[in-house]
């Protein structure tokens, strides 16, 4: 086995979850997933496709009809026309990210990632034998995380092949403003650096906007900019288990991405793609409901957390997570494991997202029943009262 793989850290989220999975007395909030099933209209499209016998290989880049739907959806959100020739359908958002890294990163290349961040984003360049550096986000006194733009500009130089940025950010809820995206784009144009923008949480955005969508690099960039944007059906359409995502690419990159898809997974099941088409065709009935509900979840949980002694928490602008610090509990992995064992509460340790997250905990607030969140907060309060730490 490769040394790279042997030393690649297993997800600390999985480490905590494995310790508590299958235990009926644990309330799990560790994964980034709603507990609502996929809307019926979406599942029924897959069922109709299966019954029609659509069980054969399909195009590497996805069904033309799905690519057209995605292009139209992208244009609705981000303005201008987006050609379907820029879209590649992938086996989920994580697969889209991996394909992008395979397309762009040679061994020894320098990759810069803004962290804390979902660990998959930093693992992928390592699998491709790149040299990884991080630009740290930092929490303010109110618990809100911000980017030091000067530090990012210092880190990203002509030697930087790829900048990886996930905003709205998992786990912190930090988002990029349009102004910051403009600065980053201009800087990367100057250095010749590719931007890999993981924008899968764009629709889970709680600031007032006309379209219900976080700022995107796609709002600013030209088609042939060195920009690859990753999207997914998972969060906005309650489709985590379907493994369906997409890439928005410079047109010249798309045929090459088709080759990479051939060599990685060949294609996506047609019936899964039919579900994707149905999801986009019913987007107006699905996504705004999802976002409204998640905002209500956030606004249920946050005051409960903020009311606890020693908790530093700030409402996320986007995403589906409360990211908070517990004073007096410096080792997040230890804390998360204790919470499972002693409180029946399943959270993700902040250091799973990089050392910047040490001492913090991530709580996925995507809960069909907000009462589950309140019960979780009660368990945390009881545990804090017993375990102390203040």
């Amino acid at each position: 086995m490769r040394h790279t793989l042997a030393t690649l850290e297993e997800s600390k989220i999985r480490e905590v979850a494995n310790a508590g999975m299958g235990r009926a007395d644990v309330l799990p909030f560790w994964f980034g997933e709603s507990d609502e099933t996929t809307p019926q209209v979406v599942s029924e499209a897959a069922i109709a496709s299966l019954r029609a016998g659509e069980t054969f290989y399909s195009h590497n880049l996805g069904l033309p009809a799905l690519r057209e739907e995605i292009a139209a959806y992208t244009a609705r959100l981000h303005g201008g026309a987006v050609d379907a020739g820029r879209i590649a359908v992938t086996s989920g958002g994580v697969n889209a990210l991996m394909l992008a890294v395979q397309a762009l990163v040679d061994p020894g290349d320098e990759v810069v990632a803004v962290a804390p961040v979902w660990p998959n984003l930093t693992a992928q360049p390592q699998i491709l034998s790149a040299r990884l550096r991080t630009v740290p986000l930092a929490p303010g006194g109110d618990g809100a995380w911000t980017l030091d733009m000067a530090a990012l500009k210092t880190a990203v130089t002509a030697a930087t092949r790829l900048l990886v940025v996930n905003a709205p950010n998992n786990p912190t809820g930090w988002t990029l403003s349009a102004q910051e995206q403009r600065e980053i784009l201009d800087h990367c144009r100057a250095t010749g650096t590719w931007i890999l923008a993981d924008e899968v949480y764009e629709r889970l955005y709680y600031e007032p906007t006309p379209l219900g969508c976080a700022p995107s690099f796609l709002d600013l960039a030209e088609p042939e900019d060195r920009l690859v944007v990753v999207q997914s059906f998972s969060k906005s359409f309650l489709m985590t288990g379907w493994r369906l995502g997409w890439l928005v690419l410079p047109p010249s990159l798309t045929p090459h991405m088709g080759k990479l898809i051939e060599f990685n997974t060949s294609c996506i099941s047609v019936f899964t793609q039919r579900a994707g088409i149905a999801a986009l065709q019913h987007e107006g009935e699905i996504t705004p409901h999802v976002t409204r509900h998640l905002r209500a979840c956030r606004d249920t949980l946050l005051p409960l957390l903020q009311a606890l002694p020693g908790v530093l928490a700030h409402p996320a602008k986007g995403g589906m997570y409360a990211f908070f610090r517990l004073e007096g509990h410096a080792d997040a992995l230890v804390t998360a494991k204790r919470l499972v064992a002693e409180a029946g509460l399943g959270l993700a340790p902040g250091d799973a997202f990089g050392p910047q997250g040490q001492g913090w905990l991530r709580w996925c607030f995507a809960s069909k029943d907000p009462e589950r969140l309140a019960e979780g907060a009660r368990r945390l309060r009881k545990w804090l009262e017993k375990a102390g730490g203040l």
Copy 2:
């Protein structure tokens, strides 16, 4: 974009197919896929799962119930007990191969592949920046391809990280005997080389055997041998479009493969995995029928090909392809494109599988209606009469 990707050849099979796809007057035999839909009992298992709301993330390595079914199936075919802890479920056979290469190959490592072979097997090490060498199979005067074992042993040295071998072989139909597998295994044990055995055609085997299965490295190897075996539901269960396969791994490698799956695709849809469980539970009703039918297809097509002037063809021991040479037509890509344009016949050019296949054509004989094969052979005869070349 990486130079590696820019220069990576697009599949010549796709190049021919793209020239003829959507044309109703072309009989397509270019892809490695039957034209029979998935058995209903399999699709219905997925539908039941969807209706039950199984639309969430699942384990990186696959559902425990599916891993158990696969382990039991593997043990039935290859003797001894196979622990489910050695099984990783993947997004198709090609994804299994890619994950194995990611797990084993560092940049600059030497990889040796037996060729001609499905081009994905030689593309994957290049994506991982390995140095690729090939050991050529060679055709005899009767059109049957064989391995020069001495050449393989010379090529695979202590400097060789990985040997990639696909038998039964796509495209040639060549298979490894148990004796040859023993020699290769002993040699690779001595050199410390990993074997990546693509055995997805093992059940499409036409020699008399008690179990209806080609010889496998799993019949001989110890669990901790440096051996990774790739399998797929695609061919044996008429499930190409489902993208479901698996790896049989040394037990110590499995947890690390779980990490790689997390970083590549995270997991496979639960409803797809339920279909896999149903397929294995109904294997006795499905696979022997598939193999019997494919044998009949082979035995329909081969005599028709052999009766044509200038055709050199030998019945494949395994797989789903007739691989034949057309005398007087040295450039297979040109020939394949002409056949599409002038004869309405869609075949894959042999040089798509490496330079060893130049001048040969691959015909996938997996046809629900054998009369399609006869019609194809008539088209080829007519074209040969007109185009000549002898």
